[in-house]
Symmetry: C2
Subunit: 662 residues, 2 copies
């Protein structure tokens, strides 16, 4: 290349010779890091949807829902025991049954939603379609806060499953939980395929071990073999007015609060309605069937566990481990070798299903956030699919928010539970009400039945929501409570609305008369200012470039922040006879270079009809640390000068070879 | 402005109307923050030197030196007591006397330096002039590490002075020390004038209270009134083989180590030689006199304190407070009201002189670092005078380094002392040896005497340095020791030399044939690419600007990261009939916009003789948070594209009014 241009008498321009065509283009640092960490970038066309059969679909969508049994019974008992003592074991089963009635109505309601919205039946879409954008923000934000809580609660509950089995890890609960979140987030950034098989193994493993526990446990119960635990073991929750019977001790409030704590167990029902298109045809029918199977499985497990706990008097420990399930399993499976294996399998299954539940939020949160952003209610960056086709910014936001929650609650499930489930029941309420309105407006065949179901579903959800918000508003002795969500959701919605106004205003301003603007005549004059700090090849390169812009006026400008240096430069300039470009020295007594450049540019463009181009020579280094040897004044100049009208800043790179003389 | 351009049928260019001439130019955020925190920017011409009379000069330069008495005796005793028990009180005075001999030679030596280098006689300059750049780096780096330690030690010793008086603050030593450093650094960033008065008050206050202590103490000693302390008070350093007399217990090593610990007390002598130009004429004579007064004052105080401690059997406490001085003062001044006032005055004086000593390092470190940087051995940013004319980057570096040291040593003087004084004695050795060479080469009148003094000074400094390095290499039970400095200094020097090579290589490459390059003909073609994301006024503005560049080829380019959006844009483009600028859609299956732009630019400039200008429309927002709503892809594009030869990136700003329709 060098010889060919030289042979025609062409000047070899400063800067390295362009690479031969075969040479790879430079990869940006970000791309290199991403490829290293996350794998090769994926193409948009790789975004394909796997179609799932019912058993696989159950595995993919059920983890959030089924995993709730890991803490549902425990949270009900934790509240009852400390207020009503031994009466807790009389109350836990009825409360579970009431929750199962709520669950049944939720399932019936969502069967309606699946049929009506076979492509995307999430609360955001249903609410937006039936009530408009603002209520949709409420539904969406509520659900988003709940996804954050799902991650925090699932991971915080999965860690005790591990700690119950290996008590030595007890003091590392927070770092273990944070590591879980980090690993799940990393997997999702790489783009874990929602491949059925990956999900099926742990989900069915959990289901099988749990069924084994219940069958053996209930079997031993019927045949009278199950021991009843003593209630004076050290470390148990302190008993309330125990022994006086529940009539004296239990107030309606305590029962309602226990009910509210258990409410978390019936969440996760909405998952299937978000993913109907992933089912095999006929999608909505298969989805409905799967929903019913999922709900029944959850119901059976939840009921069975509560019943066993009640009969065996299994009370929660104050520090959370061993868990109620762990205690039940220890007794039911017995202490032999087989029993031990079964016990560890159950603990492993519980932990896996909880981790999967957190993983589900990592799929749902970014997608929901991208809906908000697509409607201009959240930063647009959330709509961008990243390196591996996932909504990377959403994944990172969710990870950050849930780690924050885990740290401030020290990964304690009982501190998180008061915040949990309010969001999801708010979104249930809005989306079921939306469905009710849908029936009223559309009047499709069977709409009366649908209206009844959805209206009841909406009403029940609202009741549960209000019960949770009131009974858990600020639990005694705790700082966090339902009030956080009650305050947070309206504040967030207000912020989102403000943000939306800003986007709309920008768009309106930008798109107005865009066409006329594009055809507008150019300004009268074009002035090019070359900022010169030293008389060197980078400045020379900038001046070469400046001349190709054929400006009306070309000026070399030096900001004299150091008198001595400026005199030296001016002398060099004269000595070399660079007469074509007179050097202009700009006084800068306070050494604020950026400010001085700003003044020069403002003066040059003062007539309002002059285009000013500011050329900043910039060294391009071969190694990152070389950059640290230079300050970043040029960035500051670019940022500040850009705030003037008709001031355009160009970086003219000079490529250092880093090898001394070429 | 609007109407005047409109009246001549001129198109009103998009973007806000230029501000009327009276309007203030936008201030950058950095400038606004700096002005708020540090005050109005100072002009370079404000850099004036106050000329100091001898009494004021003593106050300005003596704090580092005089403050050493606050910990000198204590550190000697601390080491002796734990190895030789009560024999410590026999040994402390002789060791002090030997240190005073070293001090005397240092003063004599520096009297020579002051005369020979009346403008700047720091170790760096003297070593560079006589031995060259590389030894100067060793001297400079040694001194820099010691300045960091001076700050850490002074502040860590000043805090116990406070804690001795107010024991309740004992557990806050680290935060108090860090706060001291932060306040001193902030004051120096604002540019505390080295105004004599500010320094004179605390310095003379300290001298007066200390003289009072010594006069009363020695007076009471002579008249037989001083009690001897018991050595079994709780909290005292554990006694070594006490009571057997020093012959059995004391090894040479223990004595040398005690001597090394006391070595810290005779540092700070070099301060005056750095500041000769600040004295009244005849500068060097006045400086010499002041040096002798300073040294004598230090010597008298150090000797008096050691003597009192020896006679009164004042032993250091294990946790550092109350300090030895505090114990002496409590006894000497007695318990009455007057005695109490005197005691608190002494504690306050001690604390103030220590803080001033730290402050002195904040003047010396940045200046010395700027010498290194001026010779291209440290990042050039260290030569820049900041907002308030001080070397801000040096101040911030010193603050960061000393806070780091304070935190890792938990602000314990005895953990810092093993690292201290090696650096300063290394620089003493080099600069005295330099002076010796100076005498040999210059042979000015009296050179033989000067040679003897400086050679002896260099030899003594070297001996002290070696003693410190060996005896404190790794104190038993401590992690940090002299080894840190022994390792750090060569590593730092190697880094500095590497950095220097990089600067030199850059300069050589940049300055080669700069003049030819400046006159070089322009490239054959100029292609302008306008990156278009939406058909809006910001894109229109970029196209308007593009046309003023009169390129050979003008192309509007859209990177089609989203197929749907790209089709929509292309349709709009056709519909509006923007025929003058055909829109080019660039395939981008992996959504890496930066990469696609890079490929387009590389192709356009592939012939090696084409100048490519990439125009990126960029929104300028009126509020910082509006910026967060947009991603920073344009920055990534600019960074990456700049790595190609002849690729110049221009940001074309479009100024949003934020008020909707104009």
């Amino acid at each position: 290349m060098l010889s060919s241009t030289s042979s025609v008498g062409q000047f070899v321009p400063p800067g390295p010779i362009p690479p031969p065509p075969k040479d790879p283009l430079p990869e940006s640092l970000g791309d290199r890091v991403k490829t290293k960490l996350l794998g090769e970038p994926l193409n948009t066309e790789d975004l394909a949807h796997e179609r799932l059969g019912k058993p696989t679909a159950l595995a993919v969508f059920a983890s959030d829902n089924l995993s709730s049994v890991a803490y549902g019974t425990e949270e009900i008992l934790r509240h009852l025991v400390q207020y009503v003592g031994i009466a807790a074991f009389t109350l836990v089963t009825p409360i579970t049954v009431v929750l199962l009635v709520v669950l049944a109505f939720l399932i019936l309601s969502y069967r309606q939603t699946i049929k009506a919205y076979p492509t995307a039946g999430g609360a955001y879409i249903v609410t937006r379609d039936n009530f408009g954008l603002l209520p949709a923000q409420v539904a969406g934000v509520s659900l988003l806060t709940d996804y954050v809580l799902t991650v925090a609660v699932s991971v915080a509950a999965g860690t005790p499953a591990l700690v119950s089995a290996f008590p030595g890890l007890g003091s590392f609960a927070v770092p273990i939980s944070v590591a879980f979140v980090a690993i799940i987030a990393f997997g999702n950034l790489r783009g874990v395929k929602e491949s059925g098989r990956v999900f099926a193994v742990p989900t069915y493993f959990f289901i099988v071990t749990m069924i084994a526990l219940l069958v053996i446990g209930l079997g031993r119960l019927v045949f009278g073999h199950l021991p009843v635990e003593a209630l004076n073991r050290p470390g148990l929750m302190p008993l309330g007015k125990a022994g006086n019977g529940w009539l004296q001790g239990a107030t309606l409030f305590v029962v309602l609060r226990a009910f509210a704590s258990g409410g978390a167990a019936v969440t996760g029902v909405e998952a299937i309605s978000n993913g109907v298109p992933a089912f095999r045809v006929p999608e909505w029918k298969n989805a409905r069937t799967t929903l019913v199977i999922m709900g029944s499985t959850l119901g059976a497990m939840f009921f069975g566990l509560s019943l066993l706990a009640a009969k065996m008097h299994v009370a929660p420990y104050e520090k959370g481990t061993p868990t109620v399930i762990s205690q039940i399993a220890k007794i039911v499976f017995g202490g032999g070798a087989v029993g031990n294996v079964a016990y560890y399998c159950l603990q492993a299954g519980t932990m896996l299903i909880l981790v999967l539940a957190a993983n589900t939020s990592f799929a749902d949160f970014p997608r929901l956030a991208s809906f908000h952003a697509g409607d201009n209610f959240m930063p647009r960056q959330l709509t961008k699919r990243g390196h591996r086709l996932v909504f990377s910014n959403g994944i990172l936001s969710l990870a950050a928010a849930s780690i924050f929650l885990i740290v401030i609650t020290q990964a304690k499930v009982d501190r998180l539970i008061p915040l949990y489930a309010i969001g999801v029941f708010t979104s249930f309420t809005l989306s079921q009400a939306g469905m009710a309105k849908h029936h009223l407006t559309q009047r499709e065949p069977g709409w009366r039945r649908g209206l009844f179901i959805n209206a009841t579903g909406a009403f029940l959800s609202l009741v549960v929501d209000v019960v949770i918000a009131i009974t858990k508003f600020k639990p005694a002795g705790a700082i966090l409570g339902a009030w956080v969500i009650v305050v947070l959701v309206p504040v967030m919605v207000a912020l989102l609305v403000r943000l939306n106004r800003q986007y709309e205003a920008e768009t309106e301003e930008l798109e107005e008369d865009a066409r006329d603007a594009a055809e507008a005549p150019i300004l009268r004059r074009h002035v090019v200012l070359v900022l010169v700090n030293n008389l060197d090849r980078s400045a020379a390169r900038a001046m070469q470039y400046a001349r190709s812009l054929t400006p009306d006026d070309l000026r070399a400008v030096h900001v004299a922040y150091d008198e001595h240096h400026a005199e030296h430069l001016a002398a060099d300039w004269r000595r070399l006879g660079l007469s074509r470009f007179p050097l202009e020295l700009v006084d800068c007594p306070d050494r604020r270079i950026t400010r001085s450049v700003l003044e020069v540019v403002a003066e040059a463009s003062a007539d309002g009809n002059t285009e000013v181009t500011v050329l900043i020579p910039r060294l391009e280094h071969r190694r990152a640390w070389h950059k640290l040897l230079h300050d970043r004044t040029s960035d500051a100049i670019a940022r500040t000068v850009s705030r003037l009208p008709h001031a355009n800043v160009t970086f003219v790179p000079y490529h250092l070879t880093g090898r001394g003389r070429q």
